[in-house]
Amino acid sequence: MNILIIGLSLAAMLFLLSAGLTLIFGMGGIINFAHGSFYMLGAYGGFQVIDSTGSFWLALVLAPLGGAAVGVLVERLALRPVYNREPFVQMLLTFGVILILEEGVRAVWGLDYKDVSAPAVLAAPVHVLGATVSAFRLFLIAFGAAMAALLFLVLEKTPVGTVVRAASADPEMVRALGIDVGLVRTGVFAFGTGLAALAGAVTAPLFPVELGMGFGVIIDCFVVVVIGGLGSIKGAVAASLLLGLVRAGGYGFAPEWVDLLSYCLLIAVLLLRPHGLFGRQRRLA
């Protein structure tokens, strides 16, 4: 039971982390290596908001807005000029963004670790079906599920979502229909980076808040995105659940083999479905 609940909480975190990455990839084919840096930025931003106002909830609003604002700058200044260049140019640029963001965070907040605690309402442990888990983790599960549902609704049921899906498939055709694809790309990139920042802020009470925190998570993000299928939100949900539960099971039975288990899962999925659970061949072409 405990493994299930903790697995779900891991899945929720993995989903929050990887959703932005997969959205951005789906849109412009951009592999945003700086995703982890936006996650870090969100955690530091969240720390700042909590430090200044004392409100974790306000941090959950402001940190993603900050992440999105930086995302707009990055997309406009760095990525826009190179959309038509070879993919490696974009990758190199996102690497450059990592260095800039890290230096920026270091200049503003210094080298020290920052302390972010869960809000008092969620600080107590609770007992669910014989398992002791924190209220904060239950909140994370609900929050992750709500974000997944919200993303789904927006993408599937709103005009904005329709435009994003259309532009992911054929940006030029969307342009020919009168839509400013540049604006859509900026919007999606900013939304993706905002999501990364949100993930950073919401999980900060569970992890060290430090300059290197983005590196660890970016690997997890890529594992989820590749298992789920590049560009697929549905895939990100499924892969997060799969990986979260496998990891929780791993921690339960063989904690020193958890990473190996994760990569075995990745390899198994790629062998059976080379384009991921919900990937399409077309996207990789």
Binding site: N2, I3, I6, S9, L10, L111, D112, Y113, K114, D115, S117, A118, A123, A124, P125, A131, T132, V133, S134, F136, R137, P205, L206, F207, P208, V209, E210, L211, G212, G216, D220, R247, A248, Y251, G252, P255, E256, W257, V258, D259
Partner: protein
């Protein structure tokens, strides 16, 4: 074999030439090559070590026997390869000594280089026993504390806190496993029962399942060798489920000022060894703390104090030789004694180049004094060198 023959040959040459070199000419500067992690996860440690060393240099007006001290700071990135590469080029450029690194793997690699090039290496942070195995390294000195001593302190801590049953969480690498094994041995002699153990990969992303096992194990204490980011993750997640209310939480180097800043209330009452603490009651420490505060506007961390004390000791020994021959320095440092270190008396073991010194146990605390950070460390026990170190034969 070839190396051995080379050494013999060199010694023979030296024996002949030596008298004429009795007074080696003074160099234009005394060059210290400091190679430590200044970026990445170790940066927060490296930055403090650098500050501590700078204070030690300032104290000598940055000269030694009339010669200016020149220090270079290179970023090891925490990687053994980079450490060795950067140190090698500094040595080639005429460094008189090397200071560094932080992590054990990089420091062990670095000691291999300095032994080969016959340049003194001063270690303050890395705790790996391999650095001070008796008779193994000639040019390497550790003024900081080693694994055996820190494990000894934690075992003592367990005893004084009436721990009866302990659960262990250990990162899955050799030095950490050795440390845990050593603790188990010591615990057995004190009648402490080990009721469970788990090993995790590092970096670890989640501890909640392991913590749950610990809480169900019936143990009254959780012992963990996890360090740095792993320790922070573990403490934050232990706090999530209220583990501290049910079990004592402790481990060697589990918390220090840096980690307390990262975890806040989650670190309160957690037991740990301390490398150094600004409150230690020795005259030299009061001086150092005042100078450090004047320069940087805050109290020295454990890493800053540790680095300061080592560098101060070493420079004093070098100055007292009035020689510019590295061999004389090494000879003088071997078995040297400092009576007025920031932690009182320290004896450099002649057999292993490991400093015998007091050891500290402490807990994380919330601090209310206006000039202190909100969370920090408090010393609970001071162990004398005789309680932890075996004397050199």
């Amino acid at each position: 074999m070839r190396i051995k023959r080379g050494i013999v040959a060199a010694a023979a040459v030296l024996a002949i030439v030596r008298p004429s070199l009795a007074a080696e000419p003074a160099p234009t500067s005394f060059r210290i090559a400091a190679i430590i992690g200044l970026s990445g996860p170790l940066a927060v440690i490296g930055a403090d070590m650098r500050r501590g060393v700078e204070v030690a240099l300032d104290e000598r007006n940055r000269t030694i026997n009339g010669v200016p001290i020149e220090i270079t700071w290179d970023d090891s990135e925490g990687k053994p390869q980079v450490t060795v590469q950067k140190a090698a080029s500094r040595i080639a450029a005429g460094a008189n000594m090397v200071f560094g690194e932080i992590g054990s793997p990089a420091t062990v690699a670095l000691s291999g280089l300095t032994e080969q090039r016959e340049v003194p290496l001063l270690v303050t942070f890395a705790a790996d026993n391999a650095l001070t195995t008796p008779g193994r390294l000639h040019w390497t000195f550790r003024t900081g504390k080693n694994v055996n001593s820190t494990v000894g302190v934690t075992a003592g801590f367990a005893e004084r806190n009436h721990v009866r049953k302990v659960f262990g969480i250990t990162p899955d690498y050799e030095a950490a496993r050795d440390s845990w094994t050593l603790f188990k041995t010591l615990a057995a002699t004190k009648g402490i029962e080990v009721v469970g153990e788990e090993f995790h990969q590092t970096p670890a992303r989640d501890f909640s399942i392991l913590l749950d096992k610990a809480m169900r194990s019936g143990a009254d204490a959780l012992y963990t060798v996890s360090q740095g980011n792993d320790a922070i993750t573990l403490l934050k997640q232990a706090n999530e489920v209220g583990l501290k209310e049910k079990m004592k939480l402790f481990g060697p180097g589990m918390v220090d000022e840096i980690i307390m800043r990262a975890v806040g209330p989650a670190g309160v009452d957690v037991g740990s060894t301390l490398r150094y603490h600004w409150s230690e009651d020795f005259p030299a420490n009061k001086d150092f703390v005042a100078r450090y505060k004047a320069k940087y506007g805050e109290l020295p961390s454990a890493n800053a104090g540790d680095a300061y004390d080592g560098m101060r000791w070493w420079l004093r020994v070098v100055a007292d030789t009035h020689s510019w021959d590295k061999k004389d320095w090494v000879a003088a440092m071997t078995g040297s004694v400092i009576t007025d270190s920031v932690e009182g008396r320290k004896d450099m073991g002649a057999c292993d180049h490991q400093a015998r010194q007091i050891a500290l146990a402490g807990v994380g605390v919330e601090q209310t004094a206006p000039d202190l950070p909100k969370y920090g460390m408090k010393i609970t026990d001071i162990l004398q060198p005789g309680q932890i170190y075996r004397p050199c034969p």
